[in-house]
Symmetry: C2
Subunit: 131 residues, 2 copies
């Protein structure tokens, strides 16, 4: 029970973090995630942290690291479901998660990824700003 | 950290079980799930248990109970990602999960739900068997 499952949902991957991760779990998650991004050519990673009441600097750095890795692999990372206390703590820790998009919940995160990755889906697609 | 998040994904709800649930957690999950089925008028519930290496009779009964409750509320439950050892144990325990659909992973579970709930999606829609 020391492995956090990575769920493939179409072009995206979904991870739900429910426990305080240990170092080993975080490493395993990074490995699994990068492996699955590679294997399934995923364009986006959703990390749901709605179950986290609080967060420490380790978890914050882990999120930032995963986002950096997936960004290098051309997959956009969206952290969803962040609770107010977690957001406050992250900023107080100086971890503003550069390069990580955030969304209120998984649905909005999916919408965000779709709008970013499929610009010519339904709109005129005039957004050319990507980071 | 004693609450298992229920994620809304369109018309469906997704629960990822990663820990051995205690009684209280299971009760909370039932409450959350029924509340969300009611609030969002969800037609399907996906329960991912790919992180479970083993399962006991309590967990098996919990899955069966949740499926019964959501079925009464007109939402189909699909258990996805069941590992071989878990399937063996469930059958050995006499818990064959009546009324619960299963699928290999979340994607196939979603397809299953869509095919059940939207019969006239792309096919001729001649399946009239529902349980």
């Amino acid at each position: 029970m020391d492995r956090i499952p990575v769920l493939k949902m179409g072009a995206f991957l979904l991870v739900t973090i429910q426990v305080d991760m240990q170092d080993r779990q975080a490493m395993t998650l990074q490995d699994d995630l990068t492996h699955m991004v590679n294997a399934h050519q995923s364009r986006g990673v959703l990390i749901d942290i709605s179950a986290l009441d609080m967060v420490d600097s380790f978890m914050g750095r882990m999120l930032a690291t995963i986002a950096s890795i997936t960004s290098i692999m051309d997959a956009q990372t969206v952290v969803v479901g962040m609770q107010p206390a977690v957001a406050i703590t992250l900023v107080e820790l100086g971890l503003s998660l550069p390069g990580v998009l955030t969304a209120l919940n998984v649905e909005k995160g999916m919408e965000l990824l779709r709008s970013r990755l499929v610009p010519s889906h339904d709109d005129s697609g005039d957004d050319d700003a990507d980071d």
